[in-house]
């Protein structure tokens, strides 16, 4: 109760605060990543069916998880920004989108790289794959919309609305895609058939997911700082900052 949230939600005070938080998240991400990589390459045993290729799971699944989590978090920030007319929330939503898109892309690419040796095809029109592809389109739409509106306040609100519409649609899309696949013909491949995961594998995936998560926070904070600098370019605090930081440039 005693914290004045409005104080922290002004860019001028949040900028240095974010600057202090970033190193912490970077460290956490590094530690989790080292632990996760250690488990994925040194501890986890070879899979008797898939051989070593299954180790892709340690980036694929966390990336797929993050791609979905980030979209939800992004829409949450967007909704908050729309409801409270809070600029910082909208900026956070904007800062998360590119990272979300990157993880979606990584899930797709690593999935394909896994699919080729396992299924013999780079791509099949499976429900999960297809809906991940559509998620990528949703991210790209959000980014493109914001990039093509010059007035930042309008860009924020338009983007937020789009993110919300997307969130309503994601489950519909997911189920329709599932239906589409099962009604036409049984897909010959079923990803659920992956072997029961040993605890070590789960551990590795969780650690990698945590690393990605911390990385996401750090990068989002970095990006939100850039957005603040660009938007408040002509405000006094940015000018002051740019002059004092000038020596380092």
């Amino acid at each position: 109760m005693s914290i004045n949230w409005f104080k922290y939600s002004s860019p001028q005070t949040f900028y240095p605060l974010a600057g202090k938080m970033i190193p912490w998240f970077v460290w956490l991400a590094t530690i989790f990543a080292i632990a996760g990589l250690y488990i994925s390459f040194a501890v986890a045993p070879t899979d008797f069916q898939q051989g070593e290729a299954y180790r892709i799971i340690f980036v694929h699944v966390p990336a797929a998880w993050m791609s979905m989590v980030i979209y939800i978090v992004m829409a949450g920030w967007a909704a908050l920004g729309l409801a409270l007319n809070a600029r910082l929330s909208a900026m956070m939503a904007q800062a998360l989108a590119p990272t979300g898109a990157i993880f979606t892309l990584l899930a797709l690419v690593t999935g394909s790289l896994w699919g080729k040796p396992m299924w013999g095809a780079w791509w099949v029109w499976d429900a999960r794959l297809t809906s991940e592809l559509i998620l990528l389109f949703l991210y790209l739409g959000f980014i493109a919309l914001q990039a093509s509106i010059d007035d930042p306040r309008r860009a924020d609100r338009a983007g937020a609305l789009l993110a919300l519409v997307g969130v309503v649609n994601v489950p519909i899309i997911y189920f329709s895609v599932k239906w589409w696949n099962t009604l036409h013909q049984g897909s010959s491949i079923n990803m659920g058939a992956a072997p029961k995961m040993a605890a070590t594998m789960l551990m590795g995936m969780l650690l990698m997911a945590l690393a990605f998560w911390m990385y996401t926070v750090a990068v989002a904070l970095m990006r939100v700082r850039c957005i603040m600098l660009e938007r408040e370019r002509s405000s006094d605090w940015v000018k002051e900052l740019s002059v004092t930081a000038g020596g380092k440039l």
């Binding site: 408040e232 370019r233 002509s234």
Partner: protein
């Protein structure tokens, strides 16, 4: 009846104005003056609720217009820089349909009378696309003769009008004010309007 508190407007990264405050009561007229680009149109759009203020509130009958939206809007008549005419509809169709779309059930006769009042009944059946700039403006302004709202917000209503039409419009404004209406205008011209109380708000950079 219309009251503002601490209005501020940010466009791009420029603060156009801040702390704009005034009170407008029945019969009152408010001029908003300033150079090109000083934020007059932005202020009027804020008063209508088309733009959200960066900070501050607009009150109608003591309540924020956000909460009183329906009663406020049914009392408001706004005419902006844009005429809102459809090139492919005739002057009469334009006037009738825009009044009806705003929830004001007017007959064709009434609309024709309004066009006559501002002196363009001759053009009633011409498509808007062939009208001259001033004639277009007058079709738009004819809406004022049909309006039942108390508050008129007009952005440069005299622009593009010839002298005769300016005085017709000024007389209409005087009549509206003397019957207890309110009006907010921007203008770059000097026009005499008869009002009980006249205020001036000057925006500057």
């Amino acid at each position: 009846m219309l009251l503002t508190q601490g209005l501020a407007c940010l466009r791009g990264d420029r603060l156009l104005f801040k702390n704009v405050e005034f009170e407008l009561n029945a019969g009152g007229l408010l001029y908003v003056l300033g150079e090109n680009g000083s934020g007059k149109s932005s202020l009027l759009r804020m008063l209508c609720g088309l733009m959200l203020p960066e900070s501050g509130t607009v009150f109608w009958n003591k309540k924020p217009i956000k909460e009183e939206s329906e009663s406020y809007l049914s009392n408001l008549t706004y005419i902006g820089h844009l005429n809102g005419l459809k090139d492919d509809l005739t002057a009469l169709e334009n006037l009738t349909m825009s009044a009806r779309a705003a929830g004001n059930e007017v007959t064709e006769d009434k609309a024709l009378a309004a066009l006559a009042a501002i002196g363009i009944e001759r053009c009633a059946n011409l498509p808007a696309r062939v009208l001259s700039q001033g004639q277009k403006r007058r079709v738009t302004l004819a809406k004022l003769w049909l309006s039942e709202g108390k508050l008129w917000i007009l952005d440069e209503p005299f622009a593009a009008l010839d002298i005769a039409s300016v005085s017709i419009l000024a007389a209409k404004l005087g009549e509206h004010l003397s019957s207890g209406g309110m009006a907010i205008l921007t203008t770059h011209q000097d026009v005499a309007i008869h009002a009980q109380s006249t205020q001036t708000l000057r925006l500057s950079e």
